[in-house]
């Protein structure tokens, strides 16, 4: 124990002396670490934030919702009736049908908004929004709840009650809309409308196909029916997310190779040069009976210490300059906004894994150099 302490103390002193005598070797290792880790942090954090932003979009749209818009005009002919068109898909979840009329309503502040009418079938899912006193609902995400406001339609003023949109309606109502009961404006309904059908899929349903299959099945129905459907679903977002995750994986591998290889080469070369400079001291210690693994451990700990210290510094620097750096690359707003959790994510843990693998690999040349017999060195 005593000898280990003495050797450790001596090696510690020797290391400090070397660092002060040759600060260039520490600085070279530091700058390589800061540059490679900084680059890796920048890339992987950007991917992580982009991924998070896409996932948020997916969640807000509804992971398995499908929105179908279809224009309808009085002269329009189709092979199937609207009722039986999606009948074989009823088990997939809840189907909500709304009609967007070809007229708009004007709010007191002069803003024009769309009008949707709802039928009996939609009463149940819309129940939380409706009230018995006034069936006209102004769905407004930013207005106070249950406020009675005036709306003007075709020169007539009506009263509507403000409500916030239900979560599942977010894909349908991106802005303020007026919900009115069916046949409130029969003349305008007869002029045509856009059918907005929302499928709220039940992910726990026994026969729910994948989102790709669902969209494909609806498209197939539209083809058979010779109808032009505008389908919106999370499929595009899923595809974007998949592409991003593929890119993320590719860059992770590239960064692993870059960080690991560069660090192991630079650290390895410097370690070997320093080891050779101190070859006689090492050999002398070994001649007393100091195990070679102690000297190897010193190099390993030194490299791990320097690599981790400057890797932490690099990550902190990138975090501090987050906004500035990401703005330079003209990345989306969600990415430019600083998020501490992105810097405490598994991406950063991965970078540290690469750094430590690089630091360990860099010690290998010293391991082989230690195999040279003491007698050949001290001659």
């Amino acid at each position: 124990m005593r000898s280990s302490t003495l050797i450790a103390f001596y090696l510690w002193k020797d290391t400090w002396k070397r660092w002060f005598e040759q600060p260039g070797s520490v600085l070279a290792r530091a700058s390589v670490t800061v540059l490679t880790v900084g680059l890796a942090t920048l890339l992987l954090v950007a991917f992580s934030l982009l991924e998070r932003s896409l996932k948020q979009q997916l969640e807000s749209f509804g992971l398995s919702s499908v929105m179908i818009n279809e224009s309808f005009s009085p002269g329009h002919s189709s092979a199937m009736t609207r009722e039986n068109r999606f009948s074989h898909m009823q088990d997939w979840g809840q189907w909500i049908l709304l009609r967007q009329l070809y007229i708009s309503a004007r709010l007191s502040d002069g803003v024009y908004i769309s009008i949707y009418s709802y039928g009996k079938d939609a009463l149940l899912p819309l129940a939380p929004l409706l009230n018995s006193e006034n069936p006209c609902i102004l769905v407004a995400p930013r207005m106070p709840e249950r406020l009675t406001v005036d709306v003007e339609i075709e020169g007539h003023t009506f009263q509507a009650v403000t409500r916030r949109p239900l979560a599942f309606l977010t894909p349908v109502f991106t802005n303020q809309v007026l919900l009115v009961p069916e046949n409130r404006f029969p003349l305008h309904e007869a002029m045509g409308c856009v059918y907005a059908t929302l499928l709220l899929a039940n992910p726990e349903g026994p026969q729910l196909p994948s989102i790709e299959d669902r969209v494909e099945a609806i498209e197939e129905v539209a083809r058979l029916d010779n109808t032009q459907l505008n389908i919106r679903s999370s499929l595009d977002l899923h595809k974007k997310l998949k592409a991003l995750q593929d890119n993320q994986l590719r860059w992770r591998l590239i960064m692993a190779a870059v960080v690991g290889t560069v660090l192991s080469l630079i650290f390895g070369t410097i370690s070997l040069l320093e080891f050779r400079q101190n070859l006689f001291i090492g050999a002398l210690l070994r001649s007393f009976g100091t195990p070679g693994r102690t000297l190897f451990l010193r190099t390993l700990l030194e490299n791990i210490f320097i690599a981790n210290l400057f890797a932490v510094l690099s990550v902190v620097l990138v975090a501090l300059m987050h906004g500035t750096l990401f703005k330079v690359f003209q990345l989306p707003r969600e990415v430019v906004r600083f998020s501490l959790s992105a810097y405490l994510s598994k991406e950063i843990a991965l970078i540290f894994l690469y750094v430590n693998i690089g630091a360990c690999l860099s010690t290998l040349p010293v391991h082989f150099a230690l195999k040279k017999p003491v007698g050949e060195i001290l001659s």
Binding site: R2, I7, Y10, K13, D14, L284, S287, F288, G289, P373
Partner: protein
């Protein structure tokens, strides 16, 4: 076999397979006592010493050392061997006392005994006032005495010295000779490689190494 001897049995050695042999079929047993190995530069004296210490591995044959008559290994180097190189014997960043403590603690000496032994050998070799100095601040003679103190502090069974008095004045040589002779007595083995005639008076055996491998015989012709 006497476990107090250092025995070389049919030793052959060369630094690389393509290089010439430095030692070839060399056999000799070093009994307890002081042995001087003399010979021309390059005849293989230092190589022999390093083989005896286990710092080089023989290409052929084997070396047997105390206490169990086995090949020299790290345990032997730690506890039973004191070795003085021609130069670079002391750790430059440790004081003389620390140098001695480090060597003896690796040999398994601990506690108060460690400090007592360090003081004893520093005193015997006239270095007690320099115990806190770093090796770089000492003269050549002082450094060489400190190296011998470092080798002796663990009180090894085998003491091997490579040119311990080269370049030293008579006084320093006398101090070193006396310390070695007193320590070795009749139960320990000491092998010294030297050209120094002043050490012959403490020797129990003098080996002319040239007869084994007269590598540089051409020098004789030149003289």
């Amino acid at each position: 076999m006497n476990n107090n001897t250092v025995s070389f049995q049919h030793i052959g050695f060369r630094y690389r397979p393509a290089y010439p042999w430095v030692l070839e079929d060399f056999s000799h047993t070093f009994e307890p006592g002081v042995h001087l190995v003399k010979g021309f530069s390059g005849c293989g004296k230092s190589t022999l010493l390093r083989l005896g210490a286990g710092y080089l591995l023989p290409s052929a044959g084997c070396v047997r050392v105390p206490p169990f008559g086995e090949a020299p290994d790290a345990a032997f180097q730690r506890a039973f061997l004191g070795f003085v190189f021609q130069q670079m014997n002391l750790l430059p960043l440790a004081s003389l006392e620390r140098n001695l403590e480090l060597a003896s603690s690796l040999a398994g000496v601990s506690g108060q005994e460690l400090a007592l032994r360090a003081r004893k050998w520093l005193t015997l070799l006239g270095l007690e006032k320099l115990s806190q100095r770093l090796p770089g601040s000492l003269s050549g003679g002082q450094q060489q005495r400190a190296s011998i103190a470092r080798a002796l502090v663990k009180e090894p069974q085998v003491l091997i010295l490579d040119e311990p008095t080269s370049g030293l004045d008579d006084l320093n040589t006398e101090v070193i000779s006396k310390a070695i002779r007193d320590y070795i007595g009749t139960s320990r083995v000491c092998i010294i490689s030297t050209h120094d005639h002043r050490l012959e008076k403490i020797a129990d055996e003098i080996i002319d190494f040239n007869r084994f491998l007269p590598m540089e015989r051409h020098l004789e012709t030149l003289v």
